[in-house]
Symmetry: none
Subunit: 155 residues, 2 copies
């Protein structure tokens, strides 16, 4: 049994006429080994689908209930939004999930989708949108951490 569970890498897969997409094999392995389930919801900040293990949302719920006055009201609202939107997405024997119309529309996904690892979460993007977004992020990160541009011998 492995010690760590991280959603990683960037994988481009097709979405067929029925709205099915192959979940990257690495992601499936994580689901099987944890015994948890994939949960997806519309990202609050970007035109993409966000996904994670149900375990993580459970952890979030626990954090909220354990520190009510600790959290801001907005954090509370955001959490509500996520839970209101989230839904389980099991995959079939060939490893595919069927994404809902709502999710696909929000992410502007039609015939192909890019899975982007985020550690404990992942995102699903329209390929062109992700290309732009990645570029934006790279520029943003270099702006915030200009040391990387130069020598960046350490990080």
């Amino acid at each position: 049994m492995r010690k760590t569970f991280l959603f990683m890498d960037t994988v481009l897969n097709k979405v067929d006429a029925k709205g099915r997409v192959s979940l990257p094999a690495d992601y499936r392995a994580i689901v099987k080994e944890t015994g948890s389930e994939i949960v997806c919801y519309r990202s609050l900040s970007s035109p993409c689908i966000e996904g994670c293990l149900e375990d993580l949302l459970d952890k979030l719920a626990t954090q909220m209930e354990d520190s009510l006055d600790f959290f801001s009201a907005t954090q509370d609202d955001l959490t509500n939004l996520v839970f209101g939107d989230a839904k389980r997405y099991p995959f079939d024997s060939t490893g595919r999930v069927m994404l809902s119309e709502k999710l696909l529309k929000h992410a502007q996904i039609t015939d192909s989708a890019v899975f982007v690892g985020k550690g404990r979460k992942f995102q699903i993007w329209n390929p062109e949108n992700w290309e732009k977004e990645e570029k934006r992020i790279r520029e943003q990160v270099l702006k915030v951490r200009p040391s990387l541009k130069e020598a960046g011998r350490e990080s």
Copy 2:
């Protein structure tokens, strides 16, 4: 179980037609003994591949997970960049990994590659590029710390 795990030394290996490279035996030993896995990604600052143990990234993911900041925007950008690019690279029974096109291209590696230890991380370079880089680093060090020029007898 050993106490310390350091990627060290500089090793030149061939990259075959399938994109396979032997991971230096010392590195393999570290992976086995830690029970972790090799993870590689494009260096943010240099034209080379960077690698480390999955444990290291897992630590990062845990920090974010526990930061009570499920919806932070800056965190979002950083995690996308790091985890979106990283990927596990398990090695087969003969000790080889299969580097992706993306990584090889970024590091301009074609038929041979140099592994350079960096402690908790390591880098994989195109041999010519590494030669130049090493020279650059040595000169840089002497410029910053001229005292080394006198004393620094090396083998």
